[in-house]
């Protein structure tokens, strides 16, 4: 989301304004956007056409503080995205274990076949590592010590693992995994945006790379 802290950006700054939509003539919502996933989430365009706001609606009452406010709040936002990703991996594992224990092919449950067992062993390992890493991030955040580099690591890595995990789990459902009635298909589609919002994963890597000083 924040690509670079260009000096000119810092000087120019950003401000945050709070709009109460019920009392803002000139404010309009666009259509509810159609998306690949997260279909129960209302995601929209918003339009502001000569919307008049009193100074009381300027957050904090001082202009130009938004960029500073953002930089301070971003680690938490990224940690929250990662927490959702780790939880989704737990859920995908649970769903896939239940399905493969039930589903039989070539005379036995899929869960007794080596490929299934090894794939799900990998998923369980990754989900566990994600949880332990995030526990450390949460503990750091509670102490006010979660820095941008670590939060960026959590965001990109967990969401990448989430997408990889959904793909592996869906595969074990075979054709049913592609059908909307199976939650794994929804989880697969919903995971995709996690690598894009909250600061794209490429931006996360750029932020981490800045700490690579010789």
């Amino acid at each position: 989301m924040v690509a670079k802290t260009d000096p000119s950006m810092g000087a120019k700054g950003i401000s945050l304004m709070v709009v109460e939509t019920a009392d803002a003539p000139g404010f309009a919502r666009g259509r509810n956007l159609e998306k690949l996933g997260l279909k129960s989430q209302d995601t929209s365009e918003l339009f502001f056409d000569n919307v008049r706001l009193p100074p009381e609606n300027l957050l904090g009452g001082t202009e130009g503080q938004g960029f500073y406010q953002l930089m301070k709040s971003l680690p938490q936002e990224r940690l929250v995205v990662a927490l959702g990703g780790a939880a989704a991996m737990d859920k995908a594992l649970e769903e896939t274990v239940a399905y493969t224990a039930e589903r039989k092919a070539f005379g036995k449950p899929l869960l007794e076949m080596q490929n299934t067992r090894f794939k799900l062993a990998e998923v369980k390992t990754v989900a566990h590592i994600a949880r332990v890493f995030l526990d450390d991030c949460v503990a750091k955040h509670l102490r006010g010590e979660l820095d941008a580099t670590t939060a960026s690591m959590a965001k990109w890595w967990v969401t990448q693992m989430q997408c990889d995990t959904m793909d592996e789990c869906l595969q074990l459902f075979g054709g049913y995994g592609y059908m909307s009635e199976y939650p794994i298909s929804t989880m697969y589609a919903d995971a995709r945006v996690q690598k894009i919002y909250g600061g794209s994963n490429e931006i996360m890597k750029e932020l981490i790379a800045r700490s690579l000083t010789p």
């Binding site: 989430q41 918003l46 339009f47 919307v51 009193p54 709040s73 939880a87 859920k91 939650p183 929804t186």
Partner: protein, 187 residues
């Protein structure tokens, strides 16, 4: 499967976790398919979530919140995703992002004005940063807020805004105006 237990969990948080599992399983998961069809969660789910105490959990009680800390937010977010693996309930934006901005940077009057209504679910909050064509490139934000007399006049458009259809409050980003037409900033 032996579940991993976070070292920062305690008895109170474990109780919260148990109650959340029931809440999401009964009040959220059964409605997800219908919510996906209609393209949004039911508006009154926000009020139910507020009554249950999962909106603005880390906001102090004097502003209507649960008086918790980030551990409460972490448990609330985690259990939401663990319940269904997905959900359109935009509490992360509402509680963990927007409420944080108002709590950390709002004036006393602003906190009293908005946080209690956000905590109860009376108001749903969105944050509007992205504009058509900007994405990660925030230097290209075009929205303006110009002083006219004692008021700001805002013009611009935003896109991909989570909670966009249901939002009663929108935290809007705009570049600080040039000194020629804006009051001096503090730095």
């Amino acid at each position: 499967m032996t579940a991993h237990i976070s070292p920062w969990m305690d008895e109170e948080l474990t109780l919260l976790q148990d109650s959340l599992r029931t809440f999401y399983a009964t009040e959220m998961v059964p409605h997800e398919a219908r919510w996906q069809e209609q393209g949004h969660i039911d508006r009154d789910f926000w009020n139910k979530a507020g009554a249950f105490g999962i909106l603005c959990a880390s906001v102090p009680e004097e502003y209507g919140g649960m008086g918790g800390d980030f551990r409460h937010e972490a448990v609330i977010a985690t259990e939401q995703y663990r319940a269904a693996g997905f959900s359109g309930f935009g509490n992360s934006v509402h509680s963990q992002i927007c409420a944080g901005y108002i709590l950390d940077y709002g004036s006393e009057a602003q906190k009293k004005r908005w946080l209690p209504k956000m905590a109860s679910g009376e108001m749903v909050c969105a944050i509007a940063m992205t504009e058509p064509g900007t994405g990660s490139d925030l230097q290209n934000i075009k929205t303006t807020a110009k002083l006219d007399g004692n008021e700001y006049v805002v013009n611009g458009s935003k896109t991909f805004i989570t909670n966009g259809q249901q939002a009663d409050l929108v935290i809007l980003w705009w570049p600080r105006p040039t000194p020629a037409w804006g009051p001096k900033a503090s730095r």
